[in-house]
């Protein structure tokens, strides 16, 4: 465990020495915090809705096994194909079977897919895989990891973005171009991928167990493409995303968007099964303009075990808005460099403990200030600093202190 703290500290020092990252973080993060706080101060109704989502999530977690069974049945009833993956290797195996090899795959940004290493796994099987969220595409091009749950390339300056698009994709961009000009170049590049893709892989912000329906929220429009254009759509859903109904799921995504500073969200996609039509001979045919097949993979990977941990279980309420990251003074210096393989910052320390093991999470916890800003920020009132403190005690306990 001690070695893991040394490693975590080395990563933090690297972040502090990364001038590009420091410039980006010191420019963007305080602005984002101020914008979200102002929005929430003027929208008490959203804060009230967030408290309702807390109750929905608590109830869902209490009924988790029942909701998983119900979701598996409901997904079948809407002609989706449900799967259950207990861990990383099972999830990769299911995705690999669906995708096969030599295919073009487009992915919308999914932290769960990132956690499971889906992109790298599919590439290793001989597939051409593209991230389509612009920030996540930049992360893919950089060969790093997402630095924020919603804004994965928050650590990159405009200069760095231009370098990556020019150097890795061969796009004709330079740092004197406006962001709009760069976005247009990326849009043109990704169009060809969307059109030719065989499989689209997304996450889900919520899965309604009663209706077998996934709900996704976004602004870029890439999720609509990923989940609509290819003939096969695969959705990876952590078990903590299960809620009883579509109405509950809509509440979750609205709160997530608001606390991420993206309200109203540009798009909310509600997906219940593959596309279909009954217009010819009154016979329902699956596979109209959207996908023919929808696979929904419900993923555990440490979450159900965490549910039995009195302290850590509260983290499963997280809607991954990333507001706790934005307000955290440590994260403000390091982004997700203070974190595990996928998740960083206050929520990331805890997600790392859940998905990569308590030992790793406990070592990361030692670098928390315990200042409590994350507790104030969390829409679903997860006592993040208290849980992190508990991990610190487990870390020191392992040293007999």
């Amino acid at each position: 465990m001690a070695g893991e703290l040394e490693e975590a500290a080395r990563e933090v020092i690297k972040a502090l020495q990364d001038n590009e990252m420091q410039e980006a973080l010191h420019t963007y993060v305080p602005e984002s915090e101020e914008r979200i706080r102002k929005f929430l101060e003027s929208h008490p109704d959203i804060v009230e809705l967030a408290r309702e989502v807390r109750r929905i999530k608590e109830e869902s977690l209490a009924r988790l096994d029942e909701l998983i069974d119900k979701a598996m049945r409901s997904l079948r009833s809407v002609n989706a194909i449900p799967h259950y993956a207990a861990d990383v290797s099972e999830a990769r195996e299911v995705v690999a079977k669906v995708v096969g090899t030599g295919r073009v795959v487009v992915m919308s940004k999914s932290m769960t897919a990132e956690e499971l290493g889906i992109r790298e796994h599919l590439e290793s099987l001989g597939n051409e895989v593209w991230e389509t969220d612009l920030g996540q595409l930049l992360v893919q091009l950089e060969g790093g990891k997402p630095m924020h749950a919603i804004a994965p390339a928050i650590h990159m300056t405009v200069r760095r973005v231009a370098e990556l698009l020019r150097g890795r994709l061969g796009l004709e961009v330079n740092e004197s171009m406006t962001p709009a000009e760069m976005v247009a170049k990326v849009r043109a590049f990704l169009r060809s991928k969307f059109i030719t893709a065989d499989v689209g892989i997304s996450g889900a912000n919520a899965l309604a167990a009663e209706e077998g329906t996934i709900v996704l929220v976004e602004n870029e429009g890439n999720i609509r493409m990923v989940t609509n254009l290819p003939r096969v759509h695969v959705a990876l859903v952590g078990v903590e995303k299960l809620v009883p109904t579509i109405l509950d799921a809509m509440k979750v995504v609205l709160v997530q968007a608001a606390f991420a500073g993206l309200y109203p969200p540009t798009y909310v996609s509600v997906i219940a099964g593959p596309s279909s039509t009954g217009d010819i001979g009154h016979k329902r045919v699956y596979g109209a303009h959207g996908p023919t097949e929808l696979h929904v993979i419900i993923v555990d990977n440490g979450r159900r075990k965490a549910r039995s941990d009195v302290v850590l279980s509260e983290q499963l309420r997280c809607v991954r808005c990333g507001f706790c990251q934005i307000v955290c003074p440590v994260w403000g210096q390091t982004a997700n460099r203070w974190g595990g393989n996928t998740y960083g910052g206050p929520m990331g320390v805890l997600w790392t403990a859940i998905t990569e093991g308590l030992e790793k999470g406990a070592a990361l916890a030692e670098l928390c200030l315990g200042c409590g800003r994350c507790d104030v920020a969390c829409p679903v009132e997860i006592p993040l600093s208290r849980i992190i403190h508990d991990l610190k005690e487990r870390y020191m306990e392992s040293m007999g202190l």
Partner: protein
């Protein structure tokens, strides 16, 4: 290995000397010399928790750790040697760990200002240096050293109980919260703890002239103890004009202090971020916590920001 060694050094020093960093015997009570403070049987104990007194000794240790930050091996070796040496030597006598003279004077001044404010407010209290200037164990608790914290807290609690006090007056946020919440969690006791901020009356506050200040709220006072309003009342009574920084009250920003021992450069980065924000608000910033003061002092180098402790301002010395 560095962090294991550091945690063990702090743990062992606390259990052997009562304090988590090397400091000479009797250092914690130097501030009260000549004040005539004593046990008066008031039932109220002044408990400084020694945090203001420790700050001048923490500073050279943090400097040393910062110098060693880039090399795990040298840091682990130095801390390992320090652990061994601490069993036979007084580490504070080492030239590398000499206290910061300016901070020594500052911390004495702040504690004397607090005592003066309490006296002017008519608050009577007992002071027994061997108990009043014990360390609460705040840092051990912050780092999660549950066992060491509990062992130390038991000793402190016994000493407090031996005084017969029914109420404890504290002078900094970390000690206040540790005695109230930390001792409840670790030992199951409910101590009646009150910060001096709650006891000083506005009539005891002296005018600070035409002072324009910004306020750096301590995380603990603001988010856990709900005392940020009180800080402003006292500054208002001193006729100080307050300019609020972008992040204050429940949204106050940390000074970085809690990680200063583990990763000084991280603490410094956070302190710098906060100091810039304060400097863009006013040329003087008021703190009410020694850890905030010393971290922001480091972080504000070259920014033209003057830091003062609340007690210095409202006692009339700011």
């Amino acid at each position: 290995m560095r962090y294991t060694e550091l945690a063990r050094l702090m743990s062992e020093l606390t259990l052997s000397t009562g304090y988590p960093v090397p400091a000479p015997r009797g250092f914690a009570s130097q501030w009260s010399r000549g004040l005539g403070l004593e046990r008066r049987g008031t039932g109220r104990l002044l408990f400084t928790g020694a945090l203001y007194q420790l700050v001048p000794y923490i500073e050279p240790l943090v400097d040393l750790l910062r110098a060693l930050e880039r090399s795990d091996e040298s840091a682990a070796l130095a801390l390992g040697l320090a652990r061994t040496a601490s069993k036979v030597l007084d580490l504070s006598a080492l030239p590398l760990l000499r206290p910061d003279r300016a901070l020594l004077g500052w911390s004495t001044g702040v504690l004397r200002s607090i005592v003066s404010l309490l006296a002017r407010s008519g608050v009577e209290f007992d002071y027994m240096p061997e108990v009043s200037d014990m360390y609460s164990g705040a840092l051990l608790r912050d780092m999660g050293m549950k066992r060491t914290f509990k062992a130390h807290a038991e000793r402190v609690l016994k000493a407090i109980e031996s005084t017969g006090a029914s109420e404890i007056i504290t002078v900094d946020p970390h000690t206040t919260e540790t005695l109230a919440a930390g001792y409840r969690e670790a030992l199951g006791v409910e101590l009646r703890v009150r910060s001096y901020l709650e006891l000083v009356s506005t009539s005891a506050v002296k005018g600070a002239g035409n002072l324009e200040v910004t306020v750096h709220d301590s995380c603990i006072y603001a988010r856990r103890l709900g005392l940020s309003g009180r800080v402003r009342e006292l500054l208002g009574a001193a006729k100080a004009s307050i300019r609020e920084p972008p992040r204050s009250g429940a949204w106050t920003y940390c000074c970085g202090g809690p990680v200063e021992a583990l990763l000084p450069s991280l603490a410094q980065g956070i302190a710098r971020t906060r100091a810039r924000e304060l400097a863009s608000t006013a040329s003087m910033a008021v703190t009410a916590c020694p850890i905030c003061y010393v971290n922001l002092r480091r972080g504000s180098e070259g920014l033209g920001l003057r830091l003062v402790d609340l007690a210095e301002v409202i006692a009339g010395g700011g």
